[in-house]
Each structure stands twice: as structure tokens, then as C-alpha cells.
């Protein structure tokens, strides 16, 4: 019995650079992104259920880090060890909220790198749309944020903080923040799969970066440090989420729109880089 003949999907592999045929490349990227959706969902379900099945405390681990950080910093601040200026929100709430946002960004960066390194054994054996790894990781980032949201909501209730109507727009800014993180992650992930240095440097780099971002202190207004903080690409996006949730207006709309545009474009370029680089990575890590 022969299988009924259907038009078969044809693929051709040659050594020629994909960038020589950009239209075909973009078509293939779109096709693979669509094809990756279901797989990404499966991987997401697999990873999240495995993660929580092997943990006794489960969701607890999503809230604890911001709470512990906030606790330590509030103590230090109250004892006047740290000299942090006035914040618009009560300080513990400010730190916890900002920390949750920063962590979401940091997860978007390091998550892509970890996901690629975890999926390496699978990627060197099976040719599935590599986009699935990105999507599933994005899913995890948002899932973890959703848990943190419980913390954030209880913060708002506990401290009886005012909520601006613009809070419904906050997710837009959050998505832009995650886009920026993912873009950086996508550029680093293929290189990190080749060289261990990237992962080591990243821990260090993110730690330092945190201090250049107005997370544990309010946006500084003057001085060289203020310039440095303003030039930090995370600042406008992170501040925008906070502004939209609590203040009802953007304190730096120009910075926000510029950074958003850069993040979006960067994400596309990062995706292109990731896609193009992955076969070479697979070739080298398994050879």
C-alpha cells in the first residue's frame, strides 16, 4: 500500500549565505515562527510542570527574592546606612515593585541563554524550528511575571497606593522591556553556547547593570551618575512601567518611545542573528 501522494514540502540546503536571498529568508522565518507555536507551548508546559513538580515550595520562590531584597534595603535605608532620596511610593513597595520589573528584564536576558544551553542536546540531534526555544522562554518570563503580579497587587493593596487609570497601558511598556531583554539574550545566546565566558560575564554584568538602573533608588536628577542612568537603555522602559502603574503619565515619554523603537528593531535583528548563527553553533558544539 502506497501512501497517498500529497504535494511534498521541499527544502534545499546549500552552503550559500541565507542573507543573499532576504525575501526567502524572511518568509522562512515567518513560517518557522508559526510552526514553532505548538512546540513552544509543549516545551513551556513541560518545563513549568517539571519545575514545580520537583519543588516543595513551588510558587514561593517567585516572590521571595524581591521581598528579601526589599526587606534588607528597607532596613538599611531606615538605619540611614543607605542614603536614598525620597521615592514617590513607600520605599519597601518601591523596591519590591521595581525589583520585580528588573528581574523580569534580567530573566528575559539570561533566560534565552539558559534555554539554549539546556536545549543543546536536543538541538544537536533534531532539526525543529529554533524559534520554539525563544517563544517558550518568553512564555516562562511572562508566567513568572504573572506570579510576581500577585505580589505586586498585594503591595498596592497593603500600602493603599493610588492606581492611575494608565495602569492598563503598563503591560505595553512591560512588553517593550521584555523585548529589550530578549533582544540582548538572542544576541548572546549563540555565542554563549560556544564560549562559557558569556554566561560567567553575564552574572557579573547584570549585577552591575542593576546598580545603574533606578531600581533601589529613584531616578537621579543631576550629576554624572544621573547621565549614566539616563543613558542606560533599561531606565526609560522600566520607569515607564512604574509611571504608568502609579503616576498616570510618563516622566520621559521621548526616551520611552525611542527605546521602544530600538527594542523592537533590535528584537528582529536579534532573531535574525540567532537564526543564522544556530546551525554553526550546532556544528561546533557537537563535532
Amino acid at each position: 500500500m502506497q501512501k497517498p501522494r500529497q504535494p511534498l514540502h521541499e527544502v534545499i540546503y546549500t552552503p550559500e549565505s541565507y542573507l543573499r536571498h532576504p525575501i526567502r529568508l524572511f518568509k522562512e522565518m515567518g513560517r518557522d515562527l508559526l510552526a514553532a507555536r505548538e512546540l513552544a507551548w509543549r516545551l513551556l508546559v513541560r518545563d513549568i510542570s517539571a519545575q514545580y513538580r520537583q519543588s516543595f515550595l513551588g510558587f514561593f520562590w517567585a516572590f521571595v527574592p524581591p521581598i528579601v531584597t526589599a526587606l534588607g534595603l528597607t532596613l538599611a535605608n531606615n538605619a540611614k546606612i543607605l542614603n536614598i532620596g525620597e521615592t514617590d511610593l513607600p520605599y519597601p513597595a518601591y523596591v519590591m515593585f521595581s525589583m520585580a520589573l528588573w528581574q523580569t528584564f534580567a530573566e528575559a536576558v539570561s533566560g534565552q541563554i539558559q534555554a539554549v544551553s539546556l536545549a543543546k542536546p536536543m538541538m544537536v540531534r533534531i532539526n525543529f524550528p529554533r524559534e520554539a526555544i525563544i517563544l517558550s522562554q518568553l512564555g516562562q518570563v511572562f508566567f513568572n511575571f504573572a506570579i510576581k503580579l500577585i505580589l505586586i497587587v498585594s503591595l498596592f493593596l497593603w500600602f493603599k497606593m493610588p492606581i492611575a487609570w494608565t495602569v492598563i497601558l503598563a503591560p505595553v511598556a512591560l512588553i517593550h522591556l521584555v523585548m529589550l531583554g530578549t533582544c540582548i539574550g538572542l544576541f548572546l545566546a549563540p555565542i554563549a553556547a560556544l564560549y562559557e565566558d558569556i554566561s560567567k560575564g553575564l552574572t557579573l554584568g547584570l549585577g552591575f547593570w542593576l546598580f545603574l538602573t533606578p531600581v533601589i533608588y529613584p531616578v537621579p536628577q543631576e550629576g554624572a551618575f544621573a547621565t549614566l542612568v539616563r543613558l542606560n537603555p533599561v531606565t526609560p522602559l522600566l520607569v515607564a512601567v512604574r509611571d504608568l502603574a502609579t503616576m498616570g503619565h510618563l516622566s520621559d515619554p521621548k526616551g520611552f518611545w525611542w527605546m521602544s523603537a530600538i527594542a523592537m528593531l533590535g528584537l528582529l535583528v536579534g532573531w535574525l542573528f540567532y537564526r543564522i548563527a544556530m546551525p554553526f553553533v550546532v556544528e561546533r558544539v557537537s563535532a
Binding site: 546549500t14 505548538e38 516545551l43 536536543m122 532539526n127 546551525p279
Partner: protein, 436 residues
């Protein structure tokens, strides 16, 4: 890269649309030094990003050709065997075909879904249950949730894991996990199946089931590429074979010819088999472990070398060897294999027989009265050991043919027999002795 189908294959025996896989002039280079290899990786990524990358025939420092100018063609329902020693590029070729790595020259054209039976159970998470893992694994292999649901029951049934489907995979035995992986992979309905040495999993029963399933798939028009060190697996499944040696194609032709050539090369190319007698070349002292097999043949009762055996005839298996030192616990083991299964095994361990071997040339003769194997092609493996584990020398594959003289048919074993007709009343006796 998509290229419109070339219309220049007029000489092909079957229509071009039947070709599901065509590999043309594919080469791939690898680098022996890891540090350099990683650096070249970055270099390749950069040149790809700048759009500079194209056919590249030059080797950089410390690179070598893992594959050089390989071409092949596979049509629906065909099976191709890949043979070659370790490191000859078989797996690299499979990985290029499955699109994991890109060729450095040439092109690969594929029509339809390729399923690799290479990574069984890729993406299995040991914490999750078998059920969850089937879903994850099969979507990695490219199926939609709907398709997986439709196949789920037959996967579980094929894997024979029953109630364990809802237990975590780390509680499975290695055989169960392998069966589940195989079942997932084989239910993906591919057009091309790439099989790399995986048929070594599970017990004999499951193996037989896998072979049956592969046979069914063949009938449905699925094309195979099979890599195996087991010559019988290739002989029984593939009409065509490709013989690779250090990345170069040595031969691409029908499997019989290729296997003969491969087997000859296995003996370093120097062993000669002339009309039933296999002669091994002298081993250099550095490779010898103290005892070397020098010749192997079957002889009849008159000590004449036999080219072919006849079912039911008495034969002697003669194993000549030279020992360079005194060995006091030597035993010989013989396995005879047909289509991947050992059909006959005997050895000193069964017969509680060991030899005391002084230095010199010796010959062990094993008398096999009424040799009972059915007609067919067999592979014999002979090893000589000192005590149970220390292997002194091995002949991996001595190929021989058994024919029938009509005294056996329609069965697997030639039973030596004698008939008697007892008639009571008169004295009459007829004796038909089946054995000479």
C-alpha cells in the same frame, strides 16, 4: 535554499518526482582542535551575516574533510545503507541530511518530512510522566497536538509500557525508555527515515517488532537511510549501499557488492578469501595478543575445503591459529548470525572445554555432524579467548552460504533422521538414513 527542480535527470529509471532525497557533491569540514573549531564557528557566523559565505573548497589550519564530495539519490520506498568504519562520516552525512548542519559545498534537496531515528527520546524529561513526555517528544519531532492525540494510543501500545504511562520516566528501565523513544519516533509518519544504530535497543522481541514495523513502513513507500555496523541489518533491508572511508565515497552500488568489499576491508584489506578459505595476514607483534587466527574454513569429512555447505551434511569447522606463548586456558566461541540474529552459538564455555596451547601453529577442528542450518547466507564470528574474558583474537565476519540438496524445505532446521517401517507379521525392514 530553494532551487527549482532541475529537469536534467533523463537517464533515471523512475520519474524525478519520486526522488525524495538528493545529495549532490556534499562536503563538510571539521576541525580537530576544539579551540580553533569554536573560533572558526564565530568566523563562519560572521561571514554568513555579511552574506559572504558560499561554496568553500579550502581547508583552514587543522581542518580536515569529514565528508568529501558525496552524492546520492533516494526514491520513495527505497532503502540505502551507509557503511564504513567509525569516523568515516556516516553520522555527519545523516546530520547534513536532517538539516542540523549545513554543507560546505554541494547541496541537499529533500522532499517531505525527515524523521531521525537518531536521538531516541530527545527532550524526555525524567521527572515528567511518560504521557507528558510523549507529547513533548512528538512535538519536537514536528507533530501538532491534534496529530499526537490521534497517534497516542498506538504509541503506547507499540511501546508496551501499559500502566507505567502515568509514572515519571526516571522510574522506567532503560529498555522501557528506549522503547518509548522508538515508538514516538516511528509514529511521526515521515517520508524519509534516518536510522543510526538505534536498532540495538530493547530485547529481542521488541527488536523483531521494530523490524516488522520498519518493514511495514517500507511497504508504505517510506524511504530509509540506515547506518549500522551489523552487516546483516543492512543486507536484509537495503538494496543500495554507500561505503564511506574517511569521508570519501569508496563505492556506491548494490548492497551485496558493497558488503563484500566492506568485509574484505574489515580484515585490513589483506585477508584473502579464496574458494571457502579465509587466510588472515600475519599480525605485527605490536598488535598481537599472543595468539592470532591465521585461517578459517569448513571442510568435508575427506578434509576438502567446502565453498558452500549443504544442510544435513557433516562438516568440520577448521580454525587455524598461531600462538606465540604458552596459554593454558584457551577456549573458542563461535556465533553464527543470520539477519541480525544469532541462530547458532557454541563454544568452550558450553562444552566445558579448554585447551592447553604451547607456542606454535595449531588447528582446532570442530566436527559438526548433520549440520542443521537452513539454506541462506550466514555470518560467522569466531573468537578465541584465554579464560572467560580475555579475547586473544577475533574474526568478525566469515560469510558462508548454505544450500539444500532437497532433503529439507519449508523449515528452519534440518533434522537428522532415520525412518523405519515396522510391519508385524512378516519380517521386513526399510531404513532410509537421512545422513550419509
Amino acid at each position: 535554499m530553494m532551487i527549482s527542480t532541475p529537469e536534467n535527470q533523463i537517464a533515471d529509471p523512475s520519474p524525478e518526482e519520486d526522488v525524495v532525497l538528493s545529495v549532490e557533491g556534499v562536503s563538510k569540514k571539521f576541525c580537530r582542535s576544539l579551540k580553533r573549531s569554536l573560533f572558526y564557528g564565530v568566523q563562519d557566523i560572521a561571514s554568513e551575516l555579511l552574506g559572504l559565505r558560499q561554496q568553500n573548497n579550502t581547508l583552514r589550519t587543522r581542518e580536515f574533510w569529514a565528508l568529501k564530495d558525496v552524492s546520492l539519490k533516494l526514491r520513495r520506498g527505497e532503502a540505502l545503507g551507509l557503511v564504513g568504519a567509525n569516523g568515516s562520516g556516516k553520522t555527519t552525512l545523516l546530520r547534513i541530511i536532517s538539516g542540523l548542519i549545513r554543507p560546505d559545498t554541494g547541496s541537499v534537496r529533500i522532499r517531505g518530512r525527515v524523521a531521525p531515528l537518531i536521538a531516541l527520546g530527545a527532550g524526555f524529561n525524567p521527572i515528567l510522566t511518560g504521557r507528558e513526555n510523549i507529547f513533548a517528544n512528538m512535538s519536537i519531532l514536528g507533530l501538532s497536538t491534534k496529530e499526537i492525540k490521534a497517534r497516542f494510543d498506538s504509541v503506547v501500545e507499540f511501546a508496551e509500557i501499559g500502566d507505567a504511562i502515568d509514572s515519571p520516566v526516571h522510574s522506567y528501565s532503560s529498555g522501557m525508555a528506549a522503547r518509548l523513544g522508538f515508538a514516538c519516533a516511528i509514529h511521526t509518519n515521515p517520508e524519509i527515515l534516518l536510522i543510526d544504530e538505534v536498532l540495538a535497543v530493547g530485547d529481542i522481541q521488541f527488536l523483531a517488532k521494530c523490524h516488522r514495523r520498519l518493514h511495514e513502513l517500507r511497504e508504505q513507500g517510506i524511504a530509509f537511510v540506515l547506518v549500522s555496523h551489523n552487516p546483516q541489518a543492512i543486507l536484509s533491508m537495503c538494496q543500495q549501499s554507500l561505503y564511506l572511508q574517511k569521508g570519501n565515497v569508496v563505492a556506491y552500488s548494490d548492497t551485496e557488492t558493497i558488503m563484500n568489499q566492506y568485509e574484505e576491508d574489515l580484515f585490513l584489506g589483506a585477508a584473502q578469501k579464496v574458494s571457502g578459505l579465509l587466510r588472515m595476514p600475519d599480525k605485527p607483534a605490536s598488535e598481537s595478543l599472543g595468539l592470532d587466527i591465521t585461517s578459517l574454513c569448513f571442510k568435508d569429512t575427506n578434509n576438502q575445503i567446502l565453498e558452500e555447505l549443504i544442510s544435513g551434511e557433516t562438516v568440520q569447522l577448521c580454525i587455524g591459529f598461531t600462538s606465540h606463548k604458552l596459554l593454558d586456558d584457551v577456549n573458542v566461541r563461535i556465533s553464527i548470525i543470520k539477519e541480525g540474529q544469532t541462530v547458532l552459538y557454541f563454544g568452550g564455555s558450553n562444552d566445558k572445554l579448554t585447551f592447553y596451547i604451547p607456542p606454535g601453529h595449531h588447528e582446532v577442528k570442530v566436527l559438526l555432524p548433520n549440520f542443521g542450518l537452513s539454506p541462506g547466507v550466514y555470518i560467522m564470528r569466531v573468537d578465541i579467548r584465554n579464560s572467560a574474558l580475555f579475547i586473544l583474537d577475533i574474526v568478525e565476519a566469515f560469510r558462508f552460504v548454505v544450500r539444500t540438496n532437497g532433503r529439507m524445505s519449508k523449515c528452519l532446521f534440518c533434522q537428522p533422521r532415520s525412518w523405519e517401517l515396522a510391519t508385524y507379521g512378516k519380517t521386513a525392514k526399510e531404513d532410509v538414513n537421512a545422513s550419509p
